[in-house]
Symmetry: C2
Subunit: 142 residues, 2 copies
Amino acid sequence: MSADAAPHAKPDLTRNQALVFGALEGAEAPLSAYTILDQLRDDGLRAPLQIYRALDKLVAFGLVHRLESLNAFVACNHPAGEADGESHGTAAFAICENCDSVAEFTEQDVAERLRSWAKTEGFEPHSTVIELRGLCEACRAA
Amino acid sequence: MSADAAPHAKPDLTRNQALVFGALEGAEAPLSAYTILDQLRDDGLRAPLQIYRALDKLVAFGLVHRLESLNAFVACNHPAGEADGESHGTAAFAICENCDSVAEFTEQDVAERLRSWAKTEGFEPHSTVIELRGLCEACRAA
DNA sequence: ATCGCACACGTTATACCATCACGCAATAAT
DNA sequence: ATTATTGCGTGATGGTATAACGTGTGCGAT
């Protein structure tokens, strides 16, 4: 019984996962788990853990990113034109501190450099966090 | 007021700041604000806010870094041999998920690349978070 | 001097973020 | 059918961070 509503063919999401993902897709800014919860109360979700469980899966699927410096989440949305293949290994984020917009991007050379540092140091990276905080172009103008 | 950006030119620390900084200097791993608080109860500190206020200042001075992916803090300690000059603009951290050790380093090219992305996008960065999570050499061997 | 200001401090209360521990239900493999 | 796995729902709890208030001290300007 799956009525798939998602535009991109992705792993089948459970009801909770779909609700959470939908909330993030519809948002213009990152959402905290509790904000998501508030938005989904009418859909029957009542406890933080329901949200966190869904988020964990969505992050594992690569559909959602966690922004560590914000304790919040965004739907994965790399810039148009980016191929889907591997891109979700080393995404970077530029977060506007004025309007909360988030730009996701990948700089292959940055990933490369960090990998190379790790190699010479014998460090085995499992995940990488790259987040720029500042002002987006629009807010800088204002 | 001071526009002093020199990382290791210790501005005069207040008593609370000195206590918090001391706790971080003495630690082998990052400490959370509440862990610091526990360690400083005997010195008369009683409330989280006392810790957070001190940490805010220490971070502003460049004496302490916040690790966003851990919600914890470390004393600034770039690898020996590193010149002091600019280092606290774009420090990167490699965090061992097994032993909690943290290596601080700077990759000039990484900073460069990110600055350059920002420039072409019109994004004005105020701060940058770069954190690698994984296994340090020692723990990888074990 | 003393007023005003900036700044550090101390305390209580509260908000926000995240997980544990339990038990139940549906599904798939044997 | 039994078991293993996975998702779900709930209550309780723990960990992180700030709001709002008031106090005290140093110091320059009048």
